[in-house]
């Protein structure tokens, strides 16, 4: 199949051959860029967007008097009334969980911590025996006040804004970056 003599009909002029090679590579490269550009643009697009929305209003967690001083933290599910997730819009979506408790007698003496471990994002639980928070993935421990006690976590549990409005608990849900020494909302 590769037999046959190459007969010089000007086709073997080195300059011409070099030009053809350069032209082929240039056109091939151009085709590659033209196809790759929109594809990359599309695939990278979601990286800079809020594809899963957060609730715009603080979430209602029920009557404020359900929390009493001295009780252990209470786990509450963070349920958003409406979440737009890329193309879809869903109602009552569970976004995560938080630990809430009363710290003092004044109405505003409340503490809320995101149950998302600041280390790598596992769900932090309450250890009733030791009286502190425990992350099951890598054994990070946090004091009842949220401070880091032991384990690999770089910071303490992230505080979430919790207020009382008309006798109702209102929690603001925030997602924080994991693996940093200071809390940074994402």
């Amino acid at each position: 199949m590769t037999s046959g003599t190459v007969i010089d009909m000007g086709e073997n002029d080195p300059d011409r051959r070099k030009f053809l090679k350069v032209a082929t590579c240039a056109m091939g490269g151009g085709v590659g860029i033209v196809v790759a550009a929109p594809v990359l643009r599309l695939v990278l697009d979601p990286a800079g967007k809020e594809t899963v929305t957060s609730p715009t209003e603080p979430l209602d967690l029920g009557a404020a008097n359900r929390l009493r001083i001295g009780e252990p933290p209470r786990r509450v599910e963070v349920i958003a009334p409406l979440v737009k997730d890329a193309w879809s819009a869903s109602q009552n979506v569970v976004l995560g969980a938080a630990w809430i408790r009363r710290t003092g007698p004044n109405p505003g003496d409340l503490d809320a911590r995101s149950a998302v471990c600041p280390h790598l994002g596992c769900a932090v639980g309450w250890d009733p025996d030791k009286g502190n928070y425990l992350c099951p993935c890598h054994d990070s421990r946090f004091a009842i006040g949220g401070d880091k006690l032991s384990g690999p976590s770089e910071r303490g549990l992230d505080a979430l804004p919790l207020k009382v409005v008309d006798g109702r608990l209102k929690l603001t849900w925030i997602r924080f970056a994991t693996g940093r020494s200071t809390p940074e909302p994402v």
Partner: protein
Amino acid sequence: MKARVVAFLRERAGLDSTGAEAPRMIEGGASFAYVFGSVLVFLLAFEAITGAALAAFYSPSTTDAWGSVAYIQDQMSWGWLVRGIHFHGGGAIVVVAGLHLVQTAVAGAYKRPRELVWWLGILLLVLCLAWAVTGYVLRWDQAGFWANKVELGIAAATPLAGEKIKALALGGNDYGNLTLTRFYALHVIVLPAVVTLLTVAHVKLARKHGTTAVRRATAVPSWPDQAVRNSLAIALTLAILLAYVWTQHGAELAAPANPSQAYDARPLWYFRWLLELRDLAGGAEKIAAMVAPAIVAGFLVMLPFLDKRPDLTVRARASWLVGLAGLLILICALTLMSFARDGRDDDLAKRRVAAGEVADRARLLARTNGVPSTGGIDVFATAPMWKARSIYAQKCAGCHEDPKDRKGPLIGPGHGNRVWLKAFLEDPSGDLFWGRTKLVKESKEAQKIEEEKGAKPDVPKPDPKPEPKAPAKADKESPPVPDTGPKDLAMKPSPVKGSELDDLVEVLYAQSGATDVDAAKVKRGMAQFEGACTDCHTLAEGVAATASPNLFGLGSRDYYTSFISNPKSPIHMTEDMSQMPRFDKELTIVERDALAEYLVWLRTATKADVDALGPL
């Protein structure tokens, strides 16, 4: 350093590290006639690259498929472009494969020993067509859904195994999640794998046999002589493809698939010739749709056997080439005829415009509100007051909307605003108001009977005409009426006129809870109300005044909810004066409240506002 790295890699790759291999040679010289294979390989590569990007967004389920495609098309940067290249790239493959086939046939390259290459090529073409079919349904819009229904209907007509084939393709008895997951698996895993393997075999075999070399007795190295021609052709193809995608703004996306909504299903353009054949064949449609492709495929497969002589000149094979040309021309002609047939159909054009509006609306709502997790069709329900409007259309429009055979007062934009209230007070029995109700008809009959009697009223009726919904008591008492027969119970025009009427209107308007109430006018108007209306009506909450409607909260959301729940309640129209059915059993409180909200909205709405809500 570079040389050492190259040598390292060459050795590990099992390549000769010392010298270059002999270059692949093209017998008879490089030619633009040979570019089609390369162009096809690149088009397939474009499909793979764009397909991988689309698969990163697509969700093959009946609830999410359309939403995810709409998201790519309308909300992701350049998503429409990638989707357009992918969709129209499929069409480009069919065109270039056709050219490739023609070039091969003209060159006689199907002859011994290249039959296998030829057959593999035909198989690849058939697989590419099937590939397009599996892709078209994935978008789960009206176009893809209905086209697929027709295609599987034809497949079901296959003798013996038809129904089984259909059930297998559907993944059960009807269209559903399994339909999409199956077609998705075929489209992105099975067919790409099979086509890739067969393409490799096709190219390897073709290279083994080389060109038929009919042009001249020379050979040139493939690189760069043929390569430059190939890349020029590829660049040109891409340019044409991009230009087309640009003018079309990507690929079409119709409204979400809706099994209850008829649609003018059309197959992809490369199956149009079969559609036209079916239309021409009339009753034998399914046979036409299956026999015709079988004849074409059979002819192509048999060509190496039919034209066996080794003579490669066109003249020696003229009859077979004419046969092939005839088939291709027929296919092209049928394709054009199919489009021309649609082009002549004015009704179709209208239906297409309507379908396009529905699609635009669905996509606008999907962009603005997101697609409900219950599925694509429910995107329409995210429109403002959609629920109330659909209930209204079902339960209320028959009696309250023109130009239907209306039995009740007309309800439309501006209902219950100052202009409406004033017009009502001036002529409550007017055609727009109570004019068509039984109440007014009977009252007119009663008046006529009295006139015929010529009797003058001697005793004022103790129970003045019960008035519907609005105030203004009649100034003239009607004559006594017999116990049986029609009763004159309808409200009479307001005795209050001019600016005093405006003040009275403001009193009633204030009941709706509107924020732009003129307090001074209300204060003045209360005097008018006391004078002209209170014999029949009251503004006190919850009190059943006389037999006439209580006007507390008239035009407010609570008022409407209560009225819709039971119009015959003693605080509303009472048993005698309303034909409107009660809806407290038929509609939930949430539905009644939604209707009430819609009625309140209508007060400040214009016709343009109502139109802007869009179709149901």
